[in-house]
Amino acid sequence: MSGHPPSTYEPKTGIEKWLDARLPIVRLAVDMMDFPTPKNLNYWWTFGGILAVCLMTQIVTGVILAMHYVPNENMAFNSVEHIMRDVNYGWLIRYIHANGASMFFLAVYIHIARGMYYGSYKAPREVLWLLGCIIYLLMMATAFMGYVLPWGQMSYAGAVVITSLFSAFDQVIPGLGTAITTWLWGGFAVSGATLNTFFSLHYLLPFVIAGVVVLHIWALHVPGNNNPIGVEVSSKADTVPFHPYYTVKDGFAIVAFFVLFAWFVFFAPEALGHVDNQTKANPLVTPAHIVPEWYFLPFYAILRSIPQKLIGVLAMFGSIAMLFALPWLDTSKVKSMRYRPTARWFFILFVLATLGLGWCGGKEPDDMVMTMGHTANGDPTGFSVTWLSRILGIYYYAYFLLVMPILGLRETPNKVPTTISTPVLGGAAMPAGSTAQAEKKG
C-alpha cells in the first residue's frame, strides 16, 4: 500500500522472520495498526468501522440462516416460520439479520453524508469515493434480493415492482424491457425461478461487497484519511497512530451503535417491517399499500412523483448516479464545509430534502400535505404528497447539478487553517512535541 510510511515492523522470532520473507501478512497488519491517521477525526469518522462490523454481522447471520432456509416457492415462507419458531435461537439470528440490514443502511447514510459535508470525495480521493458508491449499489441490490427471500406478500410485491422497472425499456426499444424482465424472472411473472436466482445472488453479493471493501480501504490508505478541516496532513505532528487512538474510539462508537441495534432486535424487531409480509406470497393479490423498506423510500418517492414511466425510472436511477458524479460536479477547492458557510446551508437543506422525500415515499401519492378543499366526491384537494415529492426531488437534483458546480465558483469561503494543528494551537507554528493536548479534539 503505497501511501504507507516505511514499515516499522521488525520480525523478532525465527518463525516471524521465516513468514515475513514468504508472506508478510504480520507486517501488513502491524502497518495497518500504525497507520498515521489525522489526529482531529471526530465521531462522524467512526462509521467506517461500524459498517465493517455490520457487514460481518450480516455475513455470519446470513450464512447461518441459509443452513435452515429453503429457496423454493412452496417452502420458503414456511422455512422462515420454521426458523422463527423451531430452530434454536433462530428468532434471534433472523431478527439480527433483518434489523441488521436497516442498521447497515443507517450507518452507510451517515457515512455518505459525512463524506459529502467534509468533501471526502475530492482529489485525491475520487476513486475511494467511487468504490464507496459501488459498495452502496451492491448493498441496495443485496438488500432488495434478501427482502424477497421470506416470500411474503411484501416480498412478492417488491420483487414485482423492482424487476418491472426494467420493463420501462420497452419505451426505448419495443420488446427490450419485456426480454429483460422475462430473463430476470425465468418465466412470465415473478415465480419460483426468480426466488432461486435471487437466493443465489443474495448469498454471493456480500462477498463481492467484502472484496470491494478491501479495495475501498486500499484506496483510503493511499492518500490517508480526510479530516474535519479538510486540510491534508502536512507533518507527523498532524497524525496519531491508528492503534490505539482510533481502535479505541471506533470501538466505543461500535458499542454505542450496537446498543441501538440491540434495542431494535430485542424490543422492536418488527418495527421496521411490514405486517403484510406475514402472509404468504399470493400472485393474485397485491397488498393495498405497498412501500419499500425505509432505506429506499426517497428514491421510491422520486419514481412515483413522475407520471411518465420511463422518465420516472430514469430519474430514480439518476438520483444515485449523481453520487458517482459528485467529485466532478463540485467546483470548490475547499474540502470541508466548516469553511463554506453558504454551502453548509445548502447541504443541510439537501439532507432535509432527502429525509422529506423519504417521508413522502411512505405516504400515498394522493395524501394531502395541506388540505385546501374537497372535490364533489368528498376527496380532499390541495398540496399533495406527489407535489411535495416533485419539489424536493427538484432540489435533490439541483444540489448536485446547480449548487455544487456554481457555488464553488461564486462563494467566498472562510479562512482555511494552514495545517491540522493550527486551529487548536492558535495559528502559531509549534514544535511537534507540544501538540499532545490537541488530541482531546480527536
Binding site: V161, L165, F188, A193, P283, A288, I290, R304, K309, P365
Partner: protein
C-alpha cells in the same frame, strides 16, 4: 473476432439459463369454465404465473366503456376491439398493471374500473388506462371461446 465469438458462445449458455425453462414454456394455455361467473362478477385465474381477470360485465359497465371510446386517453382503443364480437359482456384481461406489475383492484378510481394500489393508475371498465403512470391498457391475452361456457387462454 474469433476470440470474441468464442467468448460469446461460451457466455450465452450462462446467460440463457435464466430464461424460462422448457416446463415453464409448456404451461402455455389453460381452459376455464366460466358458467359460475354471474353478471357483475369477476374471477382471477392464474395463467403463466400471472393473474387473468375474467369479468362478466353489466350493461352499465359496457355502456360506460363504449361511451368513452373517443375520449382522450394515453393508449386509445375502442371497447369493441378489446372483446370478442357478440361477447361484449365477457372481458378477459391480464391482471397486471402495465406500470410496474401490481395487480389492480376492481371498483376503484373515477371510472369505476380498475385502480392499481401501487402507484395509482386508473383503468376504466374496458381496462383502458385513463390516467396515472401506466403507459398501456391492461393487456388482452390471446383467447378463444371453445364452447358455450368455456374459454381457452393462450
Amino acid at each position: 473476432m474469433g476470440t470474441a465469438g468464442g467468448v460469446a458462445a461460451l457466455a450465452w449458455p450462462l446467460i440463457d439459463q435464466m430464461n424460462p425453462s422448457a416446463d415453464t414454456l409448456a404451461m402455455a394455455s389453460i381452459e376455464y369454465d366460466f358458467s359460475k361467473v354471474a353478471l357483475g362478477q369477476q374471477v382471477s385465474i392464474i395463467w403463466r404465473n400471472k393473474p387473468v381477470f375474467i369479468r362478466h360485465r353489466t350493461p352499465a359497465e359496457i355502456a360506460a366503456a363504449v361511451a368513452d371510446d373517443h375520449a382522450s386517453m394515453p393508449d386509445p382503443a375502442t371497447d369493441a376491439s378489446r372483446v370478442k364480437a357478440g361477447k361484449a359482456e365477457w372481458l378477459v384481461l391480464v391482471g397486471v398493471c402495465t406500470h410496474l406489475g401490481c395487480v389492480p383492484g376492481f371498483g376503484g378510481g373515477e371510472y369505476r374500473g380498475w385502480l392499481c394500489p401501487c402507484h395509482g393508475s386508473v383503468y376504466d371498465t374496458s381496462g383502458r388506462i385513463r390516467h396515472g403512470p401506466a403507459p398501456k391498457n391492461l393487456a388482452v391475452p390471446d383467447y378463444a371461446f371453445t364452447g358455450p361456457t368455456k374459454v381457452k387462454i393462450g
